[in-house]
């Protein structure tokens, strides 16, 4: 092997990592025979280590660790056998409860609205980002509704992130926005459009539950529920 050929092979050689890699053996042997090549190799190794050390000193966002730990999804409990059994029993008990003593309107829109109004004070964001594409993909990957259409006035607000929920066995997507007024806006989307007493058209109906103001409408099989703790006028203005 010529020194020129060895130099090409050794251009990516890392002294601390590639020492045992046989593809470099001949080229390293050539470096032992050629002092100039050996000097070059030593210099390249020093450059590699200096650059590697420098890159590993780069700053990392201070809150990244805390955010990553905070938005951990719930434990994948259904993969544990004993929990599967417990879950089956719970499902059977729940079915029996509903079958035998189902109260009027358990799956009503009013029930859904009240539950979602309660969610806004205790949900955890699954993904924090202002990238709408990333939110949509995340929701789709997690089997939550991702075929939503946002009113233009909502798309102009600052997206904060999203979460996935479940209500009455149906997945619900939650998108979080910060309105330009400073109030938070929460948009719940579910595919279920058979809710008793729910909205019937794309014209929003306004209401209030648990001190949370809401607007609800349906579009293409999705039920949309927009909620805020801010001024109710804010919701009405959204649809003007």
């Amino acid at each position: 092997m010529t020194s020129e050929a060895a130099r090409k092979i050794l251009a990516i050689y890392r002294p601390t990592i590639d020492g045992g890699d046989p593809q470099f053996a001949d080229a390293l042997a050539q470096a032992e025979r050629d002092p100039e090549l050996a000097r070059w190799l030593q210099e390249q190794g020093a450059i590699y280590e200096a650059l590697r050390g420098k890159l590993k000193e780069a700053p990392v966002p201070e809150d990244l660790l805390e955010k990553t730990l905070r938005y951990r999804p719930s434990v994948v409990w259904w993969k544990h056998t004993w929990l599967q059994l417990a879950a089956c029993l719970l499902v059977l008990a729940t079915l029996a409860f509903y079958w035998l003593g189902r109260g009027p309107g358990a799956a009503t829109f009013e029930n859904y609205r009240r539950t979602m109004a309660g969610v806004v004070s205790k949900y955890r964001m699954s993904l924090e980002t202002d990238d709408p594409d990333r939110v949509r993909t995340f929701l789709a990957n997690n089997q939550a509704p991702a075929d939503y259409v946002l009113p233009a006035s909502i798309t102009r607000q600052r997206l904060l992130g999203c979460a996935t929920l479940s209500w009455d066995g149906n997945p619900v997507s939650l998108l979080c926005f910060r309105h330009q007024s400073g109030s938070d806006l929460w948009l719940f989307v579910t595919h279920r459009n058979e809710l008793k007493g729910g909205p019937r058209s794309s014209d929003p109906s306004f209401g209030e539950a648990n001190a949370v103001n809401t607007a609800a409408w349906v579009q293409n099989g999705n039920v949309y529920l927009l909620a805020t703790r801010g001024d109710p006028k804010l919701l009405r203005e959204t649809f003007q």
Binding site: I17, L51, P61, T68, L69, D133, R134, F138
Partner: protein
Amino acid sequence: MPSPPDFENLVRRYYRDLYYFAFSLAGNEAEASDLVQETFYIWASKGDQLREFTRAKSWLFTTLHREFLQAQRRRGRIQEHDLDEVERELPRVSPESINRIDAATALSFLARIDERYRAPLALYYLEDCSYLEISAMLDVPLGTVQSRIARGKAQMLEMLTSGSAETSCRGGASS
């Protein structure tokens, strides 16, 4: 049977490495942070079959890279090229000139490398992976990985040369 890696331990152990990798791909802090969070989220949702830290690590890097590529495809930013550049000599850089550059600048140089070379080059500099491991993580043939690293390294050293030259010029002007 060993228990799967604990989520918190895994995050604490690898979030920095993953962030550097994500930043070198995305080139900005916000997207890099999103990629890291999303990768750990996917792990917590799906990765519980992994029993060892070592396998979890390569899974995390592979997943982050895949997530990045998917996001690029959605935005129509993915570029597929043939490698048709000629082999070049490595530019001359001294370790001292690297020490004059701050770490954030060095990382930003990595993020400005040609898109094809960025991921293998980041793993080359930041991780203790063999070329075979890099090839498996990125799902790219071994020979291609090595030539991309060689070309990316040449670009990186060129940037460092011009970057350190700028630093020297600024230093000279102010003194």
